[in-house]
Subunit: 254 residues, 2 copies
């Protein structure tokens, strides 16, 4: 019986193996008998790849399943009446998507691929069916939900930071940490959000994000080329995120 997905671990977040995946505890819980493994293998499916700009689900759509990202990246956002979008989340390989819709069965946000993205999906009906008979699976689901909740608490913390630089620093460190947790490099990260996406996520203007990136580069805290970011000085970044840097003239003009 082959495992469902067997990608290799690489240095930059491209493809992820089941070992690093958020839902591997669901797909392949420890100490499971062969029958259940087989059944899981049968319900776990791989939708066709999403191309950049393609939408996985929209606001109000019925939840079809829970998704884990195998490779690529997804952003979630909401739009107001004027079509103006605000990014609410950014998901990396190995991470789960759309769990906030479990209780209502309806999605609240729009999920869009930022690049070619491969997913694993477990359809809700299969999940529900298997859950009924296997408390282990439910237990894992509870753990995953709790973990996500924890991550979101962190995000609320980061978004409540008072100045632009600390919010940018928090985003970079958060992304770095998540990459690291999945076995990728913590210092060389590909943040495939446009500057526009980043600014909308953090509640800033695009130009402010650019200027802060530029400043961090000049200060040799990070280096970047486009969306490929290299963190050079974690300590400095942590200080920027903390309260220390609320002093005068940290980001002078020119």
């Amino acid at each position: 019986m082959p495992l469902a997905c067997q990608a290799k671990i690489t240095d930059t977040p491209t493809q992820i193996s089941c070992l690093q995946c958020s839902i591997n505890t669901i797909c392949f819980p420890a100490g499971l008998d062969l029958d259940l493994r087989t059944e899981l293998y049968n319900v776990l499916n791989h939708p066709p790849a999403l191309e950049r700009g393609e939408v996985l689900f929209r606001t109000g759509a019925t939840m079809k399943g829970i998704y884990a990202i195998r490779s690529g990246a997804i952003k979630t956002y909401i739009t107001d009446e004027n079509g103006h979008e605000q990014v609410t989340g950014y998901y990396l390989p190995g991470e789960l998507l759309g769990l906030g819709a479990l209780h209502s069965g309806k999605h609240f946000q729009i999920a869009e691929a930022l690049e070619s993205t491969y997913l694993c999906q477990i359809p809700v009906e299969d999940l529900n069916r298997l859950s009924k008979d296997h408390p282990q699976i439910q237990e894992q689901l509870i753990n995953l939900l709790s973990k996500q909740l924890h991550d979101h608490h962190k995000m609320v913390w980061h978004l409540g930071l008072k100045n632009a630089t600390s919010r940018v620093a928090a985003l970079l460190l958060n992304c770095s940490e998540r990459c690291h947790d999945r076995g990728f490099s913590a210092s060389e990260i590909k943040l495939n959000l446009s500057r526009q996406d980043i600014s909308s996520h953090l509640g800033l203007a695009v130009e402010t994000v650019c200027r802060i990136f530029g400043q961090l580069k000049r200060d040799k805290v990070i280096d970047f080329k486009g969306r490929q970011i290299d963190i050079l000085n974690f300590d400095a970044l942590n200080e920027y995120m903390g309260t220390k840097m609320v002093q005068k003239g940290k980001i002078p003009r020119i």
Copy 2:
């Protein structure tokens, strides 16, 4: 067999009945047999009231159980090295606390009572034990977690809004909605956070929060006396939260 808590529904969020409580589906799931009800009644306990300023749990503390607020209010916050605190959440009667700690067993934030607060608690070990035998309970827990996740997505959205007034409006509307969901008044809310707490939560200065409150009062969008807030014009508040209000001179000096 008496039910565990039998408070009455009132107009302002003081005490909540089990009917409106988040965890009533856990305490008393529909179609449960008498044995399980009895067992639930036995594990559900009521810790002594917390007084204003008392701490329910701290960062790093072992999770003892899941808590629902019967009456009162709780804020959660984190502190940096300098002891500066940042509020990350605000919890009303009928709401759940500390679910983000389920996966690790350790709390990440500090939870502190904002006034005299009564709680219901289900100890983790009892929850785990009952969960093993009763998939219904686990299912409910999954629903609750998913609901919270959804709420936090909203919070991330609100905190990403670009200007101070819209963030304040979002907080007020969010609070109003949650009061309404629990059967309380949507327009007359007691937001028992200090201005300091609000500002720290929204990433603003205290003075800014005061000025925005003052402006909203002058514009007859809200009225307030201390922490008792009366929403007079929901449409206006919604517009403030949206993008419309990013025009010039909305908050002139005097």
